[in-house]
């Protein structure tokens, strides 16, 4: 098994194993490592490179044999933004994401705090019940939740389908966020609560004024998860939107990919618009992304 052999040789380069006298071998190995790693970078980045390049091409170039545009067609973005209706999709998504995250932060913080530092009957049972929802594949919830949401829209004062409630309310609390925040809150030293009590603070004030400011890191993780989840979701928004009025950006891009079949340059401009916010967030909050998402397996 040649590949396993290669993997085995790895430690000739690791700091520990360089005890022997194989420095030349190590040299070659390190160069080989750099080569493979750079190839990895190229593979990872090429599709993005092509996306940006194609988004600046003319239609002829994008469907032809060009690799780079002759002159950058910044107009494409204008076109996608207006004709492709990405302006609408973008602001829909901004609203949906903001509402969802606001709900998540409030609801999940409250519940997580109760599970972490309050005593009440059936606490463990309720927490176990909460965790079972993590086992549920999204596909199982499509049908029942769709029926629920249409029902709620019919009986209530505002429609849910094709409107913000169906897109946001079902995601306003997640077992995963509660679990994550509870872990964080449980690490608070109990002395804090005792001294807060002596100062006359109740649970809510203690939570707002002491626990939350300390837990900023965990809250940032929750916000990032909420953002990625709301911005990237496709299946559920496709089920509950059938017009552009509330269609979020991922579903909008999918719609545009299907509708504007041959306008590759505009499609790629739309893809850039869709990716950009996530990319910016990733570059800003790299640490939370790699640590939070990597250890949780979010996104399946």
């Amino acid at each position: 098994m040649a590949s396993a052999k290669k993997a085995a040789d790895v430690f000739s380069g690791s700091p520990v194993s360089v005890v022997g006298s194989r420095s030349r071998y190590v040299d070659v190995w390190i160069w080989f490592s750099y080569f493979v790693l750079v190839v990895g970078i190229i593979v990872a980045v090429t599709p993005f490179f092509w996306m940006i390049s194609a988004s600046l091409m003319t239609l002829g170039e994008a469907t032809g044999r060009a690799i780079l545009p002759a002159t950058a067609q910044w107009d494409n973005y204008q076109q996608a933004w207006v004709i492709g209706k990405f302006s609408e999709y973008f602001f829909n998504s901004v609203q949906i994401t903001a509402i969802t995250i606001a709900g998540q932060v409030v609801f999940c913080t409250l519940a997580a705090y109760a599970f972490a530092s309050m005593g009440f009957p059936a606490k463990n049972f309720l927490f176990a019940l909460l965790l079972t929802t993590l086992m549920l594949p999204e596909a199982v919830t499509w049908v029942p939740n769709f029926i629920t949401v249409t029902w709620l829209g019919r009986i209530g004062p505002i429609p849910w389908v094709n409107n913000w409630p169906a897109l946001t309310i079902p995601f306003m609390a997640s077992a995963f966020n509660i679990f994550l925040l509870r872990q964080f809150f449980s690490q608070m030293p109990p002395d804090l609560w005792d001294s807060a009590q002596i100062d006359g603070a109740g649970h809510l004030r203690y939570l707002l004024q002491i626990v939350l400011p300390i837990s900023r890191a965990a809250l940032v993780t929750v916000i990032i998860f909420g953002f990625v989840g709301a911005w990237n979701s496709l299946a559920w928004p496709m089920l509950v939107t059938n017009s552009d009025e509330w269609r979020p950006i991922s579903a909008g891009l999918q719609h545009f990919l299907d509708e504007a079949g041959s306008y590759v340059h505009w499609q790629m401009a739309g893809a850039v618009i869709t990716i950009l916010p996530i990319l910016v967030l990733y570059l800003v909050a790299q640490k939370q992304f790699t640590e939070g998402i990597a250890t949780s397996g979010l996104k399946g």
Binding site: S33, L37, S233, L257
Partner: protein, 615 residues
């Protein structure tokens, strides 16, 4: 009189003071804190599970239709439904018995009398069943409100009055009253038994577990009854028309296979896995199976079919054992030998098991193909992305400059928007002659390919002279492109997680191994791999489950020209629900998918128990 009431009040005040009062206030507060999150999760996370079971038992096309029993399940997986329907109760009863034995054990250790709790447990369990009956009666009435308000002025009052009507429905009302009475009686009995304090502080734990045992048994009875009456109904109607049905033989055959598999597993664990002879035998078995597969015509040889499938399952298991054997070998020759044996057996097993859809031919073909595509997708992405991830992580775990930058960029394909990223791939792998990938092929002088529009299996494409049967022609090229997308997007994620895993291995271990004279390969084999196994296990579980749930990128990369060869299970469920509006049927398939994921998780846990080394 007034004196007495004053006494009661003061008594209450006394009871409700000090610590108890604080505790009650805190509980009330906590429930208020938890309430909003539970309202959302209860409605959109817990209720859907119960509700989708309800929907799956009905004909339901946008509006609820008549009760169908197991028909939706039978339509999806045919007679396998009955096998599951008979084994599931056995499993549930087994779980119940295990819980009972645990209670008995604990009671003996503490000299408790837990069985007194059985009385209130029985009553409470009865109350819960009565509640389910109440819910089943109430649900259609409540759902119907949406129909009733149609065309009327939608006001709060109207809704409340309609809800009141549903609530006052005689059948609902009687179920509600009995539920309430039984639950109250149960609570009173539980309180009474608690007061007796014969069982010590563990009383409530006994009580809860006994209720769960009773619920398990009740569920088992319900599923078993449903399955048996369905089978009996089929036999009865077949007797009327004079048809011949062979459900029982099939159930027996498949169940026999399961039992045989468990037996093989137990025996081989007890005896150990004998070396060379078994290898040769299974190698021969694999080749023989492939040969047989070619010989057997597509005729109606059902007994033979079942025998073949059983053989395939056993081979698959042997292949797994020899895969384990690889990890014990240190010499290159041993590894290669066992690897070849394992692959041969796997192929043999595949050839045999791929017959399963044909045996249960009456099942819904699209659904079987969806499951098959999911399995293909899983098989062609998970091992490769794990391997690439491990390899890159090991390379990065050296004195490499700009390590952070490498990690940053490797993670990029994973964090981007899947619709946009898949959209790029859709253009890159388009079937146009000028599409980037086809141009790349052109440089090497290869003819342009259809990529995402190519429904033909890749083995068939690679071996055009052979006329391969459907099961052996492999995943379509279009599905392979989706696999490439999967690998591209998840390899970097694996790299990052493996890097964290490598970082947690203490360096003195390598030093000690080096002093003991271990070479690089041996260090990797005996230090890195075992200590990395928790990470590997975590990633395998996450990735396999992820491939079974995958939706977004597959939906984007799906093309009509690929003729459904890229439709995985989730996609089939989605189209069946959204496009064909068969709600009940889609729910049944989603539940089956959930069962699959559950079984995969259990198998993974089982393997982890044996293999993972938590140093």
């Amino acid at each position: 009189m007034s004196q007495m009431s004053a006494q009661v009040v003061s008594g209450l005040r006394h009871w409700f003071s000090g610590r108890r009062r604080r505790r009650i206030r805190e509980s009330a507060n906590a429930y208020l804190f938890v309430l909003p999150a539970f309202a959302v999760i209860g409605m959109f996370g817990l209720f859907p599970l119960v509700f989708s079971v309800y929907v799956s038992l009905h004909r339901w096309r946008i509006i609820p239709g008549p009760y169908l029993g197991l028909e939706n399940f039978v339509r999806a997986i045919d007679n396998l439904t009955y096998v599951v329907g008979l084994w599931l109760p056995i499993l549930l009863v087994y779980l119940a018995v295990r819980t009972l034995l645990a209670i008995k054990q604990e009671a003996r250790e503490h000299k408790d009398m837990p069985w007194l709790w059985a009385v209130p447990a029985l009553v409470v369990a009865g109350g819960i069943y009565q509640f389910i009956i109440f819910a089943i009666r109430l649900l259609p009435e409540v759902l119907d409100i949406a129909e009733k308000v149609k065309g009327q002025q939608r006001t709060q009052q109207l809704f409340v009055s309609l809800l009141g009507e549903a609530w006052q429905e005689p059948a609902v009302q009687s179920a509600r009253t009995t539920t309430l009475l039984i639950l109250l009686l149960g609570a009173a009995l539980a309180f009474g038994v608690g007061r007796l304090r014969l069982t010590g502080v563990r009383g409530s734990s006994y009580f809860a577990r006994l209720v769960i045992v009773l619920l398990l048994i009740g569920t088992a009875a319900a599923i078993g009854w449903l399955t048996l009456t369905t089978i009996r109904g089929i036999y009865a109607s077949a007797a009327e028309t004079g048809d011949v049905v062979s459900i029982w033989p099939q159930i027996l055959a498949i169940s026999g296979g399961v039992v045989a598999l468990i037996a093989v597993s137990v025996v081989s664990r007890r005896l150990g896995f004998p070396g060379r002879t078994t290898t040769l035998l299974s190698l021969g078995g694999g080749l023989l199976a492939i040969g047989l597969k070619f010989l057997v015509d597509t005729g109606n040889a059902s007994v033979l079919d079942i025998a073949l499938i059983l053989g395939g399952v056993v081979l698959l298991f042997l292949s797994w054992r020899s895969w384990q054997e690889i990890q014990k070998r240190t010499s290159i020759g041993g590894v290669v030998g066992w690897l070849l044996a394992s692959i041969a057996m796997m192929l043999g097993a595949w050839a045999l098991i791929a017959e399963l859809p044909r045996v249960i031919r009456a099942g819904y073909a699209t659904w079987w193909e969806g499951l098959l595509n999911t399995v293909y997708y899983s098989m062609f992405t998970v091992p490769i992305q794990l391997f690439i991830g491990l390899f890159l992580a090991i390379l990065l775990f050296q004195k490499i400059k700009a390590k952070g930058l490498f990690r940053l960029i490797y993670f990029l394909p994973y964090v981007t928007n899947p619709v946009a990223a898949a959209g790029i791939f859709r253009v890159l792998f388009s079937s146009r002659v000028n599409a980037p990938l086809n141009r790349l092929l052109d440089i090497f002088g290869v003819e342009p390919l259809m990529w995402l529009d190519q429904p033909k299996g890749i083995f068939q494409t690679l071996l055009p002279s052979l006329d391969l049967p459907q099961a052996l022609s492999g995943p379509s090229l279009a599905l392979i492109v989706i696999c490439i997308y999967g690998i591209w997007s998840f390899a970097g994620y694996n790299t990052v997680v493996f890097l964290a895993g490598l970082g947690s291995i203490p360096t003195p271990l390598y030093e000690a191994a080096a002093i003991d004279g271990a070479g690089r390969w041996q260090q990797f084999r005996h230090v890195t791999l075992p200590l990395l196994s928790p990470t590997t296990y975590f990633l395998t579980l996450i990735s396999v489950i992820g491939t079974f749930k995958a939706f977004s990128h597959i939906w984007v990369l799906r093309s009509g020209a690929a003729l459904g060869t890229t439709d995985t299970a989730s996609i089939v469920i989605f189209t069946e629900f959204n496009r064909n509006t068969r709600y009940g049927y889609a729910s049944a398939m989603a539940l089956i998918l959930m069962g699959f994921i559950l079984v995969l998780t259990l198998i993974n846990n089982r393997i982890a128990e044996e293999k993972v080394f938590y140093g």
